[in-house]
Symmetry: C2
């Protein structure tokens, strides 16, 4: 990570932990941001289920937050701070996760953070489809595809 | 609720809280079970997001758990206690949730708990599609449609 990206990862982690109490229980960390992808991690213990592997609700939360955080940092890089909402999502639970949960988010094929930010700058509203996956022993153990909407806050001037 | 259903609701709540630590942070409660539908509730405060409404990860967790719990109690009513996994899910976030989160789960159209349990009894494995919705001011604020698999545990004799 370059210095600016590292600072943004720290900002995002502090902000998520401060405003979404459940993420403190999950012990979420923002591990990496490179301008185009974002990585979240969380230990298994606080996110375990009845079978001793990762709880589906924790996986869904981390996958959604990884995408949301990526959209947020993409917009912040150009000076924007709108509300960002998840609109819908599809999750595939391919294999159980037995260790640390590591989630990587990026834009879906045919989508880009740059287009999303440009659209938001032009219209005060923009949509993007993002993908996230939980690393498994071979390939992704869980995947999410979700649509997000950024919308200018009432109090925002930019 | 009849006495048996009430006892099952209490069993499920205790079991979820004991085995999935994140549900304690969410302050999940099993509010109702009638043999065909299950209701979970959770207060807003521990499940809030940066915008002051319900965190999407909490909604996804509660929606998934409501369906999982319904499948579980349906199987238990006939003496079965297999592992139950969520396979995939589609979530629509229709409107924000500004108060207590109330989730109702039931079988999807063309599916029934009875068929699911009969299939499990016959083959030791069964699938079902379940629906759950979070109550909103008018209609559902969030909906989930998900497929679940029940699979005999290695140590289970039934």
């Amino acid at each position: 990570m370059n210095t600016e990206h590292a600072a943004e990862a720290i900002f995002l982690e502090r902000d998520i932990l401060a405003t979404i109490p459940l993420t403190r229980a999950m012990q979420l960390r923002v591990a990496r941001f490179d301008g185009a992808t974002l990585r979240l991690v969380a230990p298994l213990a606080p996110n375990v289920n009845d079978k001793g592997c990762a709880f589906g609700g924790s996986l869904a939360s981390l996958l959604t937050l990884a995408c949301w955080g990526l959209a947020r940092l993409g917009l912040r890089a150009q000076g924007h701070d709108p509300d960002i909402y998840v609109q819908d999502s599809v999750i595939d639970y391919v294999a159980p996760v037995w260790g640390e949960i590591r989630v990587d988010a990026s834009a879906a094929e045919g989508h880009s953070l740059a287009d999303f930010v440009a659209m938001y700058a032009a219209r005060g509203k923009a949509r993007i489809t993002l993908l996230a996956g939980v690393a498994g022993e071979s390939g992704f153990a869980t995947t999410l595809r979700a649509r997000f909407v950024a919308k200018r806050r009432v109090e925002e001037d930019t």
